[in-house]
C-alpha cells in the first residue's frame, strides 16, 4: 500500500540532481565574477565616487488639510513655523555656538544643551532641532548672522493655525508628536518619529484623510556639507481638507451662551442629521499643544474642576433627568397605559411599599394629565406610569431612539450611554431588579445615562415623528485639487414605528413646557418662533435637604432639549450644564440663545438693535441683505 503510494523512482535522479547543482553553481559563478569586477577591477573608480558622493536627502513636511465650516469658513488652517537646527559635522565649537544661540533666542543654555545631547546619536550630517517655533524677528536676525554661526540650519515646516482661538477646540482636537505606541501600530506604519499626528477630536479620527504625504529634496552639498544645489525634488502632497456640517456662527453663539459654566450643547438639523454646533465648555487653546506645552498651563487645565480638556459633547454621559420623561411617556402611550385623558393625583410624593419617592414639587401638583405632567415636569405622574410599564418596556422604547448605543457621529471614543434593563442588572451585578428601582429610571435618574448627542438625536426624532437621521459632523472631504473624495449625504437610519397620535401628544406637552404659564422651560421661549422643549435636572448625589450651599461637584446637572419651529421642525438642541442645578433656570436660557442665533442667522428673527452687554452696537450683514431682498 505504502509502496504504491509513495512512488519510488531512483533511476537517473542522481544525474538530475547533478545538473541542478551545476546550474545553481553557474549562477553563483556569475555573481562572483560581477563581484570580482566591482570590488577588484572597478573598485578604485567606485571608491572615488563614494568619496565625492555628496547627495543628501532632506525631507519636506506636508501641510495637513484644512478644516472648514459648512460655509467654507476656516476653522483650522496652517501657518509656517521656523525652527533652528544644528548639523553636528559642521560645528567646530559646540559650546560657543550653543551659547550664542541661547543669547540670540533668549533661551536657557542648559535646555539647548540637552536637546543637542538627545539628538547626537544619529548620523553626523543629520540636523538636530535645537529650538522650534522661533519668531519672525529671531528668524531674520539668525539669517543675517548665519555666517557667524557655522553649522546652523533653519527649517520651515507648516503648523496648525487656529484663526478662532479656542472655538470648537474639542471638536477639532489638537496635534502632538507621534508616540512610541502609535509608531508600532499598523495605521502609522509610514510615519517617522517626530511627526505630528492628531491626538484628539477630528484631527485624530480623520488623521488618514487630513495628513499629507511628505516630500523631499535630493540635494548636493560640498565637502563641508553645505548646500550647493537641488537635484531632484518630490513635492509634498497637502492633505485633504474637510468641510464640516458645523456652522461657525452657531458654534460661536453656543459657546458664548455657556459663559464660564461647564457643559455641552449639540445642535442638529432634524431633517438631515447634520450637526450644526458641537460645543463643550470650557474650551482650551489647541495652539498651545503644537509646540511644547507649558507645564503651568497643562497643570491649570488638569486642576480645573470644570475639566476643560474633556469633550463633554462626545464623552459626557449624564443622567438625563426629566428630559427622559419623553421616552417614558411615549412608552406609556404606545402600550396603551395612558392617553391624553389619564390623570394622576400628585400629593408631592409617591409610595411603593415602604419607600417614598418625592416629586420635585413638594406641595404636589394636584390632578395631573399628560400635558400638565410634561409641562410642569410632575415626577409622580411618571413614577406611576413607570411602575406600570416596568423597566424593560422603558428600555425597549429607549432602544428605538438609539439610546444606549453609539450613534456613529464620526469621532473616536464616542460613548454609548447606559439604558438599564433587568437582564443588564442581572449580568452586571448578579442581582434581581427591584420594582422600586424602576421609579427613578422613569424620570431619567438611577442607572440611566445619555450623551448630549443622544439627547439631541432623540429630540430630533420626536420632532420629525420618528424619521431618524444619523448625526454626522463631516459634510465632505476634498482633495488638494478640489476634487470631492467623499460626500456624506443624510443617512436615514430608521423610521420608528410609533403612532402619529403619540408624537402629537408629546409634542403638545413640549410646546406647553416652553410657552404656557407654569411651564418649566419658559426661559427658552422665542416670540417669533414656536419652540418646544423639555427641562431636566439630574441628581449627581442624593441630598437630604436643598437648603445648604452645596459644593460645586455635588450640584445637580441642568439639562434642556428643544426643537423648533414647532409646526415645521428644522433644528433640535440639547444642552447640558454640569452642576447648573436647574434645567429651567440654567439650561433653558442657553438653548434659547442658541435657537435665537439660529433663527437670527436665517433672518426669521430680526437681530435686536439693542445694546450688547459689552456696549458694542452691531448688526449682522446677513440681516441687511435679507431686508434688502424684501424691499
Amino acid at each position: 500500500m505504502i509502496q504504491q503510494r509513495y512512488v519510488r523512482d531512483n533511476k537517473d535522479q542522481g544525474r538530475r540532481i547533478l545538473y541542478a547543482s551545476l546550474i545553481a553553481g553557474g549562477f553563483f559563478f556569475l555573481l562572483l565574477t560581477r563581484l570580482w569586477y566591482l570590488q577588484v577591477v572597478d573598485s578604485e573608480r567606485l571608491v572615488e565616487l563614494s568619496e565625492i558622493n555628496r547627495l543628501r536627502f532632506v525631507p519636506v513636511a506636508a501641510s495637513r488639510g484644512a478644516i472648514l465650516d459648512r460655509n467654507g469658513k476656516i476653522l483650522v488652517g496652517n501657518t509656517p513655523s521656523f525652527s533652528v537646527a544644528v548639523v553636528p559635522q559642521e560645528v567646530k565649537d559646540k559650546d560657543a555656538l550653543l551659547a550664542s544661540l541661547a543669547g540670540y533666542l533668549g533661551q536657557n543654555l542648559a535646555e539647548l544643551g540637552q536637546r543637542w545631547e538627545k539628538g547626537k546619536g544619529r548620523a553626523k550630517y543629520y540636523p538636530i532641532v535645537i529650538a522650534s517655533g522661533i519668531s519672525r524677528d529671531q528668524l531674520e536676525f539668525l539669517q543675517e548672522n548665519q555666517l557667524r554661526l557655522p553649522g546652523i540650519d533653519i527649517e520651515m515646516k507648516p503648523i496648525r493655525q487656529y484663526p478662532n482661538g479656542t472655538l470648537a477646540a474639542h471638536l477639532l482636537g489638537y496635534l502632538g508628536e507621534i508616540s512610541e505606541q502609535e509608531l508600532d501600530q499598523e495605521q502609522f506604519s509610514e510615519y517617522n518619529s517626530g511627526d505630528y499626528v492628531g491626538k484628539s477630536g477630528l484631527e485624530r479620527s480623520w488623521e488618514r484623510f487630513l495628513h499629507g504625504v511628505d516630500g523631499g529634496r535630493q540635494i548636493e552639498v560640498d565637502a563641508r556639507g553645505r548646500y550647493l544645489r537641488t537635484l531632484n525634488e518630490t513635492r509634498p502632497t497637502v492633505g485633504n481638507s474637510m468641510v464640516l456640517t458645523i456652522d461657525i456662527d452657531l458654534q460661536k453663539a453656543a459657546e458664548k451662551a455657556f459663559g464660564d459654566r461647564a457643559g455641552a450643547a449639540v445642535v442638529m438639523d432634524v431633517n438631515t442629521g447634520e450637526v450644526l454646533a458641537f460645543a463643550s465648555n470650557p474650551g482650551f487653546d489647541p495652539a498651545l499643544f503644537t509646540g511644547r506645552l507649558d507645564p503651568e498651563i497643562w497643570k491649570s487645565y488638569l486642576e480645573d474642576k470644570r475639566h476643560p480638556l474633556e469633550n463633554k459633547a462626545l464623552k459626557g454621559q449624564y443622567p438625563p433627568g426629566s428630559t427622559f420623561k419623553i421616552i417614558t411617556a411615549l412608552a406609556g402611550l404606545e402600550h396603551g397605559l395612558i392617553d391624553d385623558k389619564t390623570t394622576v393625583v400628585c400629593r408631592g410624593f409617591y409610595e411603593v411599599g415602604r419607600d417614598k419617592f418625592n416629586c420635585w414639587e413638594k406641595k404636589g401638583h394636584g390632578v395631573v394629565d399628560l400635558k400638565r405632567a410634561l409641562r410642569e415636569s410632575c415626577d409622580v405622574y411618571f413614577y406611576q406610569l413607570g411602575e406600570r410599564l416596568g423597566v424593560d418596556r422603558i428600555a425597549e422604547m429607549s432602544r428605538k431612539f438609539g439610546l444606549g448605543e453609539v450613534a456613529g457621529i464620526g469621532l473616536d471614543n464616542e460613548k454609548p450611554g447606559l439604558i438599564p434593563t433587568t437582564a443588564w442588572k442581572e449580568k452586571k451585578y448578579g442581582k434581581k431588579w427591584y420594582r422600586g428601582e424602576t421609579l427613578p429610571v422613569s424620570i431619567g435618574q438611577g442607572y440611566t445615562l445619555l450623551t448630549p448627542i443622544q439627547l439631541a438625536s432623540m429630540t430630533a426624532a420626536v420632532a420629525t415623528d420618528g424619521v431618524m437621521y444619523r448625526p454626522h459632523l463631516v459634510k465632505r472631504i476634498v482633495d488638494p485639487d478640489g476634487k470631492v473624495l467623499k460626500e456624506f449625504t443624510p443617512e436615514q437610519v430608521k423610521r420608528l414605528d410609533i403612532k402619529p397620535a403619540s408624537y402629537r401628544l408629546i409634542k403638545e406637552g413640549l410646546l406647553a413646557v416652553v410657552n404656557e404659564p407654569r411651564g418649566t422651560g419658559a426661559a427658552a421661549r422665542l416670540y417669533e418662533v414656536k419652540v418646544a422643549g423639555k427641562t431636566g435636572t439630574s441628581q449627581v448625589v442624593k441630598l437630604r435637604d436643598g437648603k445648604r450651599e452645596v459644593a460645586y461637584q455635588y450640584r445637580d446637572h441642568a439639562l434642556f432639549v428643544a426643537f423648533a419651529p414647532f409646526d415645521k421642525p428644522e433644528v433640535a438642541v440639547s444642552v447640558v450644564i454640569e452642576h447648573g442645578e436647574h434645567g429651567g433656570a440654567a439650561a433653558a436660557p442657553v438653548a434659547g440663545a442658541i435657537l435665537r442665533a439660529y433663527f437670527e442667522k436665517k433672518g426669521v428673527i430680526r437681530k435686536p438693535v439693542t445694546r450688547d452687554p459689552e456696549g458694542e452696537y452691531e448688526e449682522s450683514p446677513e440681516l441687511e441683505q435679507e431686508e434688502g431682498r424684501q424691499q
Partner: protein, 366 residues
C-alpha cells in the same frame, strides 16, 4: 511517539548554517539601520524576535511528517489562492500596492506562502504522474494553470518580484521533472509575444522604468536608476577587504532607502569587501547544494520534488537579490533570505528550511 531516528537524522550542520546566516543578517541590519531614527524596538531586535517566531514554526513544521503535506497540498493551494483573491477584493493598500489581508490583529501577505504552496502542489501533482521521456505540452496544461493563476493575481497587486519568483520556482520544478526539448523551444518562442503584450499592456510604468533603468542606469540617475548606481558604488567601494563594520560611508550616510531590507547585501559588501562577500556566497551556495543533496537522498518522488522546489526558491531569491544589488538584474523587490530585514521574508525562508530538514530527517523512514 517521535521516532528516535528522527532526532539522530536531524541535519544539524544545515540548521547551524542557517542560524549563522541569520546571525550575520542581524549584525548587518544593526549596521544598516545604525543611522536611522527609530523609536520603539530597533530593527535588529525586531528581527531577533522574528527569528524566535521562525524557530517555533520550524519545530512545528519539522514535527509533521512531510508526507502529510502531500495529502494536504491541494487544500493548502486552494486556501492560499482564495486568500489571494480576497486580497484583490478586500486587501489592504499601502504605498500603491494591495498585498495584504487585514486580520484585525495582524496583516498577512498571502503571496509569500504561495511560494512554498506552489512547490507542494506541483510536487504532489507530478508525484503521481508517470513521465516517460519528459513532459509533453499536453502534460503541462494543468500544472501551468496552477502556476499562472496565482502568478497573475500576484502581478496584479502589483508585486512583480514575487510573481517572477513563483514562475521561476515552478519552472525549476518542471524542468527537474523533465520537459521535452521540443516543448522548451516552443515555450521560448511563445515567450516573445507574451513579453511584447506584457510590456505594452500589463506592466506598470514604474516597473517598465526599473527594467529600462537597469539596461541604462544613467537614464534617470536620481529616479529609479538611483538605487542601481548607489548600490553599485557601495559594493564596489568596499574593495577587497571592505571598509569595516559600521564604517561603510554609503551605508551610514543612507544613500539607499531600502538598505536594511532588499539592499542588505550592499551594506554587507561595502563593509566586508570581496572577502566577506565571497564567504557569504560560499555559504549560500553550500546551502543550495546541500538542499539538492537532501533531494537526491530522498527516496520518494514527492519528497524529492518538494526538496528541489524549496531549494530552487531559496536559490532564486539569493541569485536575483544579489544580482539586483550588484547590477546584474533589474531592481525587483526580492529579499535576500536570512539577511534582509523583515518578518515575512524570514518566516518564508525558515519554513523552506524546515521543509528541507523534514525531508532530510525522514529519508530512512521506508
Amino acid at each position: 511517539m517521535i521516532d528516535r531516528r528522527l532526532f539522530t537524522n536531524f541535519d544539524w550542520v544545515f540548521f547551524g548554517l542557517v542560524l549563522l546566516l541569520v546571525g550575520v543578517g542581524i549584525m548587518n541590519i544593526y549596521s544598516a539601520s545604525a543611522s536611522y531614527r527609530v523609536t520603539g524596538l530597533p530593527f535588529h531586535l525586531k528581527q531577533l524576535s522574528w527569528l524566535a517566531a521562525g524557530l517555533v514554526l520550524m519545530v512545528v513544521v519539522c514535527s509533521i511528517d512531510y508526507h502529510i503535506f502531500e495529502d494536504l497540498s491541494y487544500w493548502f493551494y486552494g486556501a492560499v489562492l482564495f486568500m489571494l483573491i480576497l486580497v484583490m477584493l478586500v486587501g489592504r493598500t499601502s504605498m500603491g500596492a494591495t498585498r495584504w489581508l487585514d486580520l484585525g490583529f495582524m496583516n498577512i501577505q498571502p503571496s509569500e506562502p504561495m511560494k512554498i504552496v506552489i512547490v507542494m502542489t506541483l510536487a504532489r501533482y507530478f508525484s503521481r504522474f508517470p513521465v516517460q521521456d519528459g513532459l509533453g505540452l499536453r502534460d503541462m496544461v494543468y500544472p501551468l494553470l496552477m502556476v499562472t493563476i496565482p502568478a497573475l493575481l500576484i502581478m496584479k497587486q502589483p508585486d512583480l518580484g514575487t510573481a517572477v519568483l513563483v514562475l521561476l520556482v515552478s519552472g525549476s520544478v518542471m524542468l527537474f521533472v523533465g520537459i521535452r526539448w521540443r516543448v522548451i523551444v516552443t515555450g521560448l518562442l511563445a515567450l516573445v509575444p507574451v513579453v511584447y503584450l506584457g510590456w505594452h499592456h500589463y506592466l506598470r510604468d514604474y516597473q517598465k522604468n526599473r527594467i529600462l533603468n537597469f539596461l541604462n542606469p544613467e537614464r534617470d540617475p536620481l529616479g529609479s536608476g538611483y538605487h542601481l548606481i548607489q548600490s553599485t558604488i557601495a559594493v564596489g567601494s568596499g574593495g577587497v577587504l571592505g571598509k569595516g563594520y559600521l564604517k561603510g560611508t554609503q551605508t551610514q550616510l543612507r544613500f539607499l532607502p531600502e538598505q536594511h531590507t532588499d539592499f542588505a547585501f550592499s551594506v554587507f559588501a561595502e563593509e566586508w569587501g570581496l572577502v566577506g562577500s565571497l564567504v557569504l556566497l560560499i555559504i549560500y551556495l553550500f546551502l543550495v547544494l546541500w538542499g539538492l543533496q537532501i533531494a537526491g537522498r530522498c527516496n520518494d518522488r514527492f519528497g524529492r520534488l518538494l526538496a528541489v522546489g524549496v531549494t530552487a526558491m531559496l536559490c532564486w531569491h539569493i541569485v536575483i537579490n544579489i544580482g539586483m544589488v550588484i547590477g546584474l538584474f533589474p531592481v525587483v523587490g526580492v529579499p535576500l533570505p536570512f539577511l534582509s530585514y523583515g518578518g515575512t521574508s524570514l518566516i518564508t525562508s525558515m519554513t523552506g528550511v524546515a521543509i528541507l530538514l523534514n525531508v532530510s530527517m525522514r529519508r530512512f523512514m521506508f
